[in-house]
Amino acid sequence: MTHSLNRITRRAALALAIGAAFAAQDAAAQAAKYGPGASATEIKLGQTMPYSGPASAYGTIGKVQQAYFKMINDSGGINGRKINLISLDDGYSPPKAVEQVRRLVEQDEVLALFQTLGTPSNSAIHKYVNAKKVPHLLLATGATKWGDPKDYPWTMGFNLSYQSEGQIYAKWLLKNKPDAKIAILYQNDDYGKDVLKGVKDGLGAAASKMIVKEATYEVTDPTIDSQILTLQGSGADTFIDITTPKFGAQAVRKAFDSGWKPLHILNNVSASIGSVLVPAGVEKAVGAITVSYYKDQNDPQWKDDPAMLEWRAFMGRYYREGDPKDQSNLYGYLAAQVMTQILKQCGNDLTRENVMRQAANLKNLKLPLLLPGMALNTGPTDFFPVQQAQLQKFTGTQWQLFGELMSTDAP
């Protein structure tokens, strides 16, 4: 008797438990909202990357991000959902990017686009994704035009924007060298003018007094020697160098060899030690200043930093074929962490509208690979996640941070 009663209660309990489980699931299903590309088990993201073609060195960013989401999935995904990042090759060709992004949006039906790389490719899809209302998030390019929520409410960049970078140099000069006589060399295209605008905005009323000479060059120019001599002739003592790597190396060399030796502010695009400073001659770059916003894995001061050790462990386990010296692998990991945070914040409301709302709702996000004290913030009218940075000086062997963290206003 007791035996059968026991059995009955056990059965009842089981039934109750099953019922409760169903009820809970029902409640969850009711609460969860799904847009295209999202379900109870999966979130689909899409991106195009230059795996082939002239910019294929950046393809590693897409690979490290796929490895990152594999790690996230191995540890249970985000809010119980696995991340499926569909990463397609665009060969750095804008028409191919359009085709692949249309595939991602119309055929694969991804929830959002993440870290599509390159200014030309992103320009080509800018209008399309905004017409289709697909979140176009954390683009891997520094152009300032990606932070325009009024006209393009579905697009948000990631990098410290070119204008912010220019502003930071200007602010630092105003404070630390207010009587500087500035000469500026910039590449004559959208990128060069973008940084230049930041510098001028940052200097404000002092711009006309402090900037004594400007010179430009074309990407097609063989050298910039004559421009450097012109700038030197102006009597400037400070040189803001807005160039891409090949010209950056030439500028470092010529500004030194000509005997000018100004305070050399070298923009971040050309701050690579391996591809700019070594070819130019490291001894000629001593004292050069540039900007940075995340930790550099080649900098010995971060050797035993916990975040760096975690990143190295990840590289060893999930992306062994990747080069741990390549900054792109750290950059891609960092961007994937931001994307993870956005999806976490979305909770069970995985609609495209909410993804965009959460992307514009990053509050004081302190990621351990960012420089100490830095935080990412966005808002409905602020589509620039990275707005702080610190200056660093070249010692002859490495970049060394100095001064304090600096912030810029949204351009």
Binding site: G91, S93, P94, R103, A124, H126, D190, E218
Partner: protein, 338 residues
């Protein structure tokens, strides 16, 4: 060709056209967009085939004419507000002049030397487009964004479907024109110059004129294709027209079948879809896979897809009735002319 055979062929073409008209209603918009690009490429390939397949001149720089056509359309729409449909003839005319002028000095160059000269043009084009003197119109390295044309209200079509039909119309126009050109006196002169230049001259063919004109017409076709492609993609930038595009076009011509009109479509399908398929199979080495497919095609179909179909059709016809059937436009490997 007998009357019956001609009728059969006409019916076949009409059937294909009906199929092409039905296509955008069964495919998703993204696929329609891809097929629109295939159609644009087909026009470019027919143009290059006139030069390379029919006239025997090798061009490694037709991507440059594709770029000129694309930029002509983009600049006219963006800076001058010209409606998209009106840009196509202008793009063709500009490219015809550019091609004709380039063809004049290039005439002194034979075979591989011409290939190198055109290669130089193709390599230089992206940098020319970035040049500061042109940047006011070309937008420099940032390119030009084009507004996608809306379908007229009465059609009830989506933008992609409308652009597809718009492109299809130009395909029909240019293939009919090309068919007439290649089957007529000029086409025969082109082939004669390819096969026996001295004999052709002796027969009274104005060799240099025909060669320059072929270059011009070929550039015209490619330019029209570039304009159509630009309108479909809605964006032009120097990075869209690297030397790789020129090589891709040549690959398309050879894969489709040299000296074949229908080959242009097979080649266009190949250059549009094989890279995507290769990318899906292998992320690590898509272009190695592409190379393998390319070699496989060349090995199994030495005269291109169109050539293989022609052989297959001839075999089938021979089995049905033993009378030999000779195609009026033979592949390059056969030197007989009827």
């Amino acid at each position: 060709m007998s009357e019956a055979a001609r009728n059969r062929k006409l019916i076949g073409v009409l059937l294909l056209l009906a199929l092409a008209c039905a296509l955008p209603f069964v495919l998703a918009n993204y696929r329609v967009f891809q097929v629109t690009l295939v159609l644009a490429y087909a026009i470019a390939l027919l143009g290059l085939n006139m030069l390379t397949g029919y006239n025997g001149q090798i061009s490694l720089g037709h991507g440059a004419f594709y770029a000129i056509g694309a930029y002509t359309a983009a600049i006219l729409m963006d800076k001058a507000g010209v409606p998209y449909w009106a840009t196509i003839p202008v793009a063709g005319a500009v490219c015809f002049v550019a091609g004709f002028l380039f063809g004049l000095p290039a005439l002194r160059l034979e075979g591989l030397y011409l290939a190198l000269a055109t290669f130089a043009l193709g390599v230089a084009m992206p940098q020319i487009l970035k040049h500061e003197a042109l940047a006011k119109w070309t937008g420099g390295s940032m390119g030009v964004v084009i507004v996608k044309p809306e379908a007229p209200e009465w059609t009830g079509l989506s933008q992609d479907q409308w652009l597809y039909f718009f492109t299809l119309l130009w395909v029909v126009v240019f293939f009919v024109l090309g068919w007439n050109l290649l089957r007529g006196r000029i086409g025969r002169a082109m082939i004669a110059i390819r096969d026996q230049p001295i004999a052709a001259q002796a027969m009274g063919v104005n060799t240099s004129m025909v060669k320059s004109l072929t270059f011009g017409v070929s550039a015209l076709y490619t330019g029209v294709a570039g304009a159509l492609g630009a309108i479909a993609v809605q964006f032009v930038a120097p990075d869209s027209f690297t030397i790789f595009l020129s090589i891709t076009l040549l690959v398309g011509v050879v894969i489709g079948g040299l000296a074949s009109i229908s080959g242009a479509f097979f080649g266009a399908v190949f250059i549009q879809f094989i890279p995507n398929i290769a990318d899906q199979i292998s992320k690590a080495a898509p272009w190695a896979l592409y190379g393998v497919v390319l070699i496989a095609f060349m090995y199994t179909m030495p005269s291109g897809v169109a050539g293989m179909l022609r052989v297959a059709r001839a075999r089938w016809a021979r089995r049905r009735r033993p009378a030999p059937r000779i195609d009026p436009i033979p592949p390059v490997t056969q030197r007989s002319e009827t």
